[in-house]
Symmetry: C2
Subunit: 110 residues, 2 copies
């Protein structure tokens, strides 16, 4: 594989809440996403999910608390824990999760 | 879990080539390491290994080429590929690999 420059990879897309896979590690994928506003509440029953903020701020809303992540901070949402990512302004984040994980978790699409 | 501030986590140790686990994702671990100089040539036969440079520069020497990583760049060494991390000056890196992976790979200790 080739190396991935994160800034250069972010420059290739503008869509929000649309994770772009930039690398694979065994059966996991490294994804980059631009996010702004609130995403749907959802749960991944089968997997933990890693969020690393690279630019801006991201709040991970949990049912009992909120976790504010600034650039250079990471958080892992444990499997089975309902959460809602929220960003007041556009943030750039790195996600890591098993290949095939849907960003809406176990919530039916549509 | 609590969030991890990467700069704060790096400030807790000074040893080089001694990965510190800061978070777990399923059966994977997120590790931080300060590196300087050259590490041993080694191979992980069973797993890929992710390197993300957070500060400084890291060269991943492969037998047929070198990959220079600057801050904000990541590279995944495929399983079975011999490699030697090298940093001319201290660099701060994030590693991701399955729990139990040794940093010397399949090379016997000692």
């Amino acid at each position: 594989m080739n190396k991935v420059n994160l800034d250069a990879a972010f420059a290739t897309f503008t869509e929000r809440w649309s994770p772009h896979t930039v690398a694979a590690l065994n059966d996991y994928e490294v994804k980059l996403a631009k996010v702004c506003g609130g995403f749907v509440w959802h749960t991944h029953e089968q997997t933990d999910e890693l969020f690393l903020v690279l630019h801006g701020e991201l709040t991970i809303r949990l049912r009992d608390r909120e976790v504010l992540l600034r650039a250079g901070e990471l958080f892992i949402v444990p499997s089975g824990v309902e959460h809602q990512p929220f960003a007041a302004q556009e943030a750039h984040i790195l996600l890591l999760e098993p290949t095939g994980t849907l960003n809406t978790g176990d919530r039916p699409a549509g």
